[in-house]
Subunit: 470 residues, 2 copies
């Protein structure tokens, strides 16, 4: 190949310059590493927070956490090293010898303890040792709640789930694309939008153009926060093949349920050359199982902290997901006296369908056209239906929505809701391909993976109506 | 450990249920895989776009790309399979036998060619074969430009760079945190902000609270797009140790330079227990070298497409970065008759300093307090200076800014710009630790790694003043 000439011009030496495994920016050990490969007998230094303290005769046991893992390191402190400042919640720098208890537990026998920062609980610290605080209580202290076992465990799982998602898509040859947050599209029908403009009225004034209003001053068009990156992904998919995005998305709805946020992360994927829902379903089912299995592997102890019920995997881990047509789903619900209105299947009905399937996730496919978006492809054998799917799971109900996209230029032209989307239509004009894709709410997936009831506890700083502290 | 009990409760069988490597959602081969491990003689199907077409006697050569890599697959098409629809830009489904040319090049000898989507260039397709279009021209067609070699190569590199960044921080025990995009903080001093409110006036009206204005209707406080996740990261750092974030950030400035965007991605890291700039510098230098080396490894052909000069690595790849104090930097610039004003070092001066260092990146440290933010720690030996750093590189000048954070409760209280940041102050009250951190502009890093002059070409959908198409 022509570019192969380039190979010989790269000296090999500098590939070795940088060794990512080298420990930099640190003169102490991370607790996850200490516990994973304990060098018993070694001089060891750790830094972290005292999460629990037990005073015995002649000796104090401190459980120290540095956030790197769910596990704490037990530190044995001779009484003469115990100062008043060494309390629950304080930050410490401990030096000592790594040892093993008779029962085989790794512990650090301290010969030096320095308190870096005191923690006087009576001075207003909202958390107490050996206390399980309700999630609603912790939510009042967003700036401090990552210090609790519950929230730190969830945030470590979130980090891993994100990682496993990227691994899955990399293994399937998908390229990650950052779709924009700011957009001049407001007509995708995915929900109410936030509008954006400079806070400075001087900036707005200076940037005004003739014939435009203040909303359009900065960008030249009215600008919103994205409700979906799908249309942008479709553009890149027609240049680069399989693509996906994982990023923040926004809804300006006045919804305060345990399943809604004003700002949330959405995973969206667009599969190139995709011409059947089966292919999408296979991709989605594989993703959910991959994330669940890998996370149970990587964050076992965290999952157990979040909910002891997580000790057992969900019933669906080794079952094939179920598929129902919309009409089948409606019939099942009618037999349960849950009649579906013309607004479609509601949350109660979603969860009833999952229960009907004994807790196995269920794809509902072939939806009535009027319930779904303009860009979805009509079913070839029934033009009142579209090739759309929702995936329903325990805890959250809908967690994924997807479809094949209308790839016929003339049909799409008829359905286009606004001239502002002519760019989207034009994607079909040149070298068009069939595509399909889906969107998955990351926080809802975390609710499913971790068994978390309220979506507001699956991210560090939740935003919902009348709540945007910090 | 107590949690170890959980292990025995997990059946091992379901760890094998999901095999991420299985090819799903696809009944054809991806070109990157075909070229990496060619099974010569096998029946092979590919789908992609015709990027080049050469008609010879009796046979047509089509270079087909599917976006999975920079390389194209040469497809040999007998003339009787060539239809009028098979043109530059068309999408095709090709079946054939994988072969090797006498020179050893992999090619697909077609026995079936189906055109999926035609491309009539004269019908308004803006790109031509065998033509290098200037970046400014391509920017007029954001919805189509990922079909060009130049932009698709950059987007593949962007995908890899993001990946390498996450790998680096995972290897250094950093946890990825999604800091919020919506925030009620407006006083971090990082630049002008965008404000956010629901577009629907009905929603605003319905959510109004007594004593609050329309700007505060939805969230209960005036809400902005984040200019930095640092303060939020610092909160989580004091619960979980080393943390970082990579996400969108916004500036409502009227700046149209080749180095500025209204929406860009920022990598921010906060190092727990960090008490010297040296540690931060080591972390940053290691990061840049890791990203550069790994990307040259993973995306060699893409880099060569973007700029042939990328065939050689930059001069600094195996050099130690240089460190200058702000005062030293100012003296150097004065000798070059580039006097520094009280506003600090400007872009021209940044680039002059890099030139002075023969193109090696240079840390400028110990900045005058009045040029930097309130949260930076004063130098112990000079309270007119703060423990801050900027990293300057070729092409972009500043690409990283960082500092040690003021960790003294009383000193920070004196400097706090607003009561709204009392939560930030309170982080220092309980179990406080020394921390330091930095922010790196992802798009500027891409300019450096790829040798791209204009930042607007480093992301798929750039937003800048008077430009928010799509």
């Amino acid at each position: 190949m022509w570019f192969k000439n380039a190979v010989t011009r790269f000296p090999q030496a500098w590939f070795k310059v940088c060794n990512v495994k080298s420990v930099c920016c640190r003169n102490y050990s991370v607790i996850s590493s200490v516990l994973e490969k304990p060098n018993i007998g070694d001089d060891t230094e750790v830094k972290g927070w005292v999460r629990n303290l037990r005073v015995m005769k002649g000796v104090v046991f401190a459980d120290v956490s540095d956030g790197s893992c769910a596990q704490r390191l037990q530190v044995v402190i001779p009484k003469d090293l115990k100062t008043d400042a060494l309390t629950y919640g304080s930050s410490v720098h401990v030096s000592g010898i790594l040892s093993k208890t008779p029962k085989g537990q790794v512990e650090l026998v301290a010969n030096k303890v320095k308190v870096l920062g005191e923690c006087v609980v009576l001075d207003g610290y909202p958390f107490n040792p050996r206390t399980v605080h309700p999630p609603e209580y912790m939510r009042q202290f967003l700036h401090l709640r990552s210090r609790t076992n519950y929230i730190s465990a969830i945030l470590r799982v979130r980090n891993s789930v994100t990682r496993h998602i990227h691994d899955y898509f990399a293994a399937h040859n998908y390229i990650h694309i950052n779709t924009p947050i700011l957009t001049s599209n407001d007509c995708e029908g995915a929900g109410e939008v936030f509008k954006v403009q400079p806070d400075s009225s001087a900036t707005v004034k200076a940037m005004m153009q003739e014939g435009k209003d203040t909303d359009s001053a900065y960008f030249g068009s009215k600008t919103f926060l994205s409700v979906s990156g799908q249309l942008h992904l479709e553009a890149v998919c027609r240049g680069m093949g399989n693509v996906y995005t994982l990023g923040p998305t926004f809804r300006a709805e006045n919804s305060r349920s345990r399943l809604h946020l004003s700002e949330f992360y959405m995973l969206e994927a667009e599969a190139a050359f995709c011409d059947s829902l089966d292919q999408l379903q296979e991709l989605i089912e594989g993703l959910l199982k991959h994330v669940l299995v890998q996370t149970r592997n990587s964050n076992e102890a965290d999952l157990f902290i979040i909910d002891k019920a997580n000790a057992s995997p969900p019933v669906w881990i080794d079952k094939k997901f179920i598929t129902l047509s919309y009409d089948e789903a409606r019939n099942i619900l009618e037999k349960k006296h849950l009649d579906v209105t013309e607004e479609g299947i509601n949350k109660e009905q979603e969860l009833a369908l999952v229960e009907y399937c004994n807790g196995t996730p269920v794809f509902v496919v072939r939806w009535p056209k009027n319930l779904k978006s303009f860009y979805m492809k009509e079913c070839a054998d029934d033009n009142s239906k579209v090739e759309a799917l929702d995936l329903l799971t325990p805890i959250t109900g809908e967690v994924v929505g997807g479809s094949l996209r209308e790839d016929d230029y003339e049909k799409l032209k008829q359905k286009l809701p606004s001239e502002a989307l002519n760019w989207y239509l034009e994607l079909r004009k040149f070298g068009n391909i069939p595509t399909g894709g889906f969107g998955l709410g990351l926080e809802r997936l975390l609710q499913v993976v971790c068994s978390v009831n309220n979506i507001k506890d699956t991210l560090p700083f939740p935003r919902w109506p009348h709540n945007c502290d910090m």
